[in-house]
Symmetry: C2
Subunit: 394 residues, 2 copies
Amino acid sequence: MATACSSSEPLWAGGAPSVGLSFRLEATDGRARAGVLTTPRGEVRTPVFMPVGTQATVKGTAPEELAELGVAMVLANTYHLHLRPGEDVVAHLGGLHRFMHWDGPILTDSGGFQVFSLSGLRRITEEGVSFRSHLDGSSRFLSPESAVAIQRALGSDIAMCLDECTPYPAEYSVAECSMQLSLRWAARCKAAWEASVAGQGALFGIVQGSTYPELRRRSAEETVAIGFDGYAVGGLSVGEPKEAMLEAAAVALAALPGDAPRYLMGVGTPEDLVEGVRLGADMFDCVMPTRNARNGMLFTAGGRVVIKNARYLRDASPVEDNCGCYTCRNFSRAYLRHLFVSREILAMRLLTLHNLSYYMRLMSQLREAVVRGEIEAFARRFHARRAGGDTDEA
Amino acid sequence: MATACSSSEPLWAGGAPSVGLSFRLEATDGRARAGVLTTPRGEVRTPVFMPVGTQATVKGTAPEELAELGVAMVLANTYHLHLRPGEDVVAHLGGLHRFMHWDGPILTDSGGFQVFSLSGLRRITEEGVSFRSHLDGSSRFLSPESAVAIQRALGSDIAMCLDECTPYPAEYSVAECSMQLSLRWAARCKAAWEASVAGQGALFGIVQGSTYPELRRRSAEETVAIGFDGYAVGGLSVGEPKEAMLEAAAVALAALPGDAPRYLMGVGTPEDLVEGVRLGADMFDCVMPTRNARNGMLFTAGGRVVIKNARYLRDASPVEDNCGCYTCRNFSRAYLRHLFVSREILAMRLLTLHNLSYYMRLMSQLREAVVRGEIEAFARRFHARRAGGDTDEA
């Protein structure tokens, strides 16, 4: 941490949120919400799960398949696309949507998380973060302003502020300094966003504060004071205990305005999605459904299926009865096991489609439960049902 | 070669060809033919190219995509499926078609070629071939009878006789002995085929004889004397010069009956397909379109495209103008290059679809040229047009 911990003056004064995004609630049930996020590229029913398209592709899928699964919105990684092929290339080719042939809304992260998790030799200053590319070792620098500029060039529908992802565990004072740096960067991101040639799109602020409820509350309040189109809760699912994660998320979410969308970043397991919705989050992303699929781990209502297990050698049934995804409609567990152990490309694809189908169905069920005022009963049934499944998890 | 070279008595006496397959010619142009192969699973217009589905999947594709590209028939590898998951597993799951979700006809090879090219410590006797699995080193034995039984269990529509793939180069006497062994095995395959519980399907004989025209002629005549539903020319594209390959193919094809389908095994490049059709072959298979795609090499009417080349970094055009495949309709060369250098699964898939589309279109054009009596003009134009393209081939 090369940054002095300082300043309590207002970080931002005035300026209306960007145009291009609106959010309305359709129902609430306790803290849980069902809403509609309206973007220039269509409506997104919330709570929504966004599959991760790190390198401008949701690994193993084609865009039409995502649409068929009910995916409304995807996430792309600014860090990866900045390094390769470069936002100038993407812009030259008409922006990210045309580049990857995805017409729906795209949320881009700021690149900060990957700088902290993937790159070597990073150095944080007030100005921004220096790092080395994990691809070629080249020296790079990311600032709040450049993070906004890159996301603008990509043509993001929802851009995220650059923040410092506080490592876990962090002492209170370290977490506080880090949170305050993120707030100053957030103000600079907003200024850069409003100064930039406005395309369509919106900018979200990010609440930090590690696992300290008091810091989470302050971070939320001060981020809201700056004023964004929506608010994310960041810096969770980074190694902290589940209870600490949920408590920090709960405090942060409760401190955010009811009329703006709330995004719980990098979350999570199916169980986490259920809890996140109960706590009032509207948006989620995670590599878990796609990454676990590539490792042969499948989600089902009855628990997890590790497809390589010998018990599936002659199993003619689909991964999940009544699933309805392309994989379950047409292929047996035995065939999927064969493809997986044979390291066939089609395995990655079929397993990914199923896991995304599972996630989409879960989100749809969660929304329905909120609309019916049955989220608590749904959550109880959900946790009880998922006691089964394989234990040799990938 | 543990086999004594012996015997000139008739190898087979009587027995009608299997039911389930018929072939009719619709047009000829010189030696080139346009026909229709009628199988219990539908009609196949010839000349036909069969993509290779080694492990019960044409790598990188889903069955519906193959159908959309106009693929009528695929090839699956008996050797691979015998070792994993085992033909008993495939049979338990309803046969190869249901297993891999492909409703069209499937041709299976005998397994012999892979025994010779992939496995270690093989030993050939009159009875068959002993070898070690390339997967786990286990000892295995393949005979004409077991090759037929495995293909029956898989539910093949067109099964192939077990033959010895004569190594190249081979002295005349070695090639002759090998050819005669293949003939004796062919007779045993036919006997086993007719003695087995007949499902639908047909059995093809295979002409061997290395690059010796006299051996190719004799092998063809004696294979025809045994009598099969169709005839393949095997043992080519194994390292011999192009001219020797074409001469051997020409002699063998000319010695085969006009009313049976002729299959030029393992061929080949687009140029080879044009020449094969000119010489009177009706069926082809090769891993080239799929394997080269995975290595980033694309076929186009204007020559080959090596997608990783830096010249495509900002290239907004499709792989091939007027192609019409899913890849060319929706994605730029720049995006494909990005996916390929990022080692994304979607790259393998999109590049494979294009190459198969190219192969299917070429076969369709060849058939049309035969029907119009313009095969020679087509071949001349084809070879002239393909002078361009990238030279750094994958």
